[in-house]
Amino acid sequence: MDAILHLSLTPEQARVVGAWALVLVVILDLLASSDDVPFNTPRDWLLWLSQWKSLGLWCKERRRAATKGGRRWAPFSPLHYLPVTGAGVPFMCAVLVGHFFHPGLGPLLGPGGFVGLASCLGAAAVLSAVTYFTKPGTGQRLLFVVALVGVVWGALAWPVRG
């Protein structure tokens, strides 16, 4: 695959590609900010993903959406009830910040540090599930704490190769 797509990069090439990816996100943000459609910037998507919805609120919304065409029952899809938003998103954003900016705390466990990464993803999944059992108001008060814990977790559990 590498012969076709040239996916392997030297650190210098990776720096250029990463910089251009950041520029691309900024351009998307500027484009979305300057059009007449509200709440469609990358920042808005991020905040939307981190919206805190209790299970009751979520189910009520899905049921209302599913029955709006005059149907009397909501077709069930497990996808409607997956706990993929809420606390997990700010936690993973914070984990990335902790992962990027630390002094190099030790060797990675597994190729690419997958053991630490798995612990981060597991904690994010647990936090997302916890989102379902707490009230949205409580959730927003906890966002900052979640972000702080995420930074520390990312730095300690998922260090960059020194």
Partner: protein, 150 residues
């Protein structure tokens, strides 16, 4: 006013269900572009971390770049708490103009440190990220996270 603009303006004032349906189609291009970029970077990072070359994953590149440019951990730290803070309507500890001025001045200060060739070593990089978080929390809270017309 253009028809498309009028439709959006009318939709924003309409009941939530109508608004969602009207705006969904207009939001889709940005939505898919964002997801495309994010997933491309994630999958590419997995490939890079397994290809045997040291120092070429996004995190390693970011860490190396941050050592020379302290403005990077500063901005990422500030932006993190700008988005995820404890409540709506949180005001900066000083008035908005002063807060904006201080944030811009500190950002320019970190740019100047980077330009002058100072390297961040050890815990300094983490300290700058944490400083960004503290400054972002007290000076740059997003006014409203709120419920939107989704």
């Amino acid at each position: 006013m253009r028809d498309s603009t009028r439709a959006v303006v009318q939709a924003v004032g309409a009941p939530v269900r109508i608004t969602r349906e009207t705006l969904a189609g207009r939001r889709r291009p940005i939505w898919w572009s964002c997801w495309g970029v994010v997933w491309a970077l994630v999958l590419w990072d997995v490939y890079l971390s397994l290809d045997g070359t040291c120092g070429n994953t996004w995190s390693e590149v970011m860490r190396a770049a941050s050592a020379r440019n302290p403005v990077l951990p500063w901005i990422f730290g500030a932006f993190l708490v700008h988005l995820f803070h404890p409540r709506d309507g949180l005001e900066p500890v000083v008035d908005h103009d002063a807060a904006r001025t201080v944030m811009v001045a500190l950002t320019l200060g970190f740019v100047a440190i980077g330009v002058s060739g100072v390297q961040l070593t050890g815990w300094l990089m983490s300290a700058v990220a944490c400083l960004g978080m503290v400054a972002g929390h007290f000076l740059w809270p997003k006014l409203r996270q709120g419920e939107w017309h989704w």
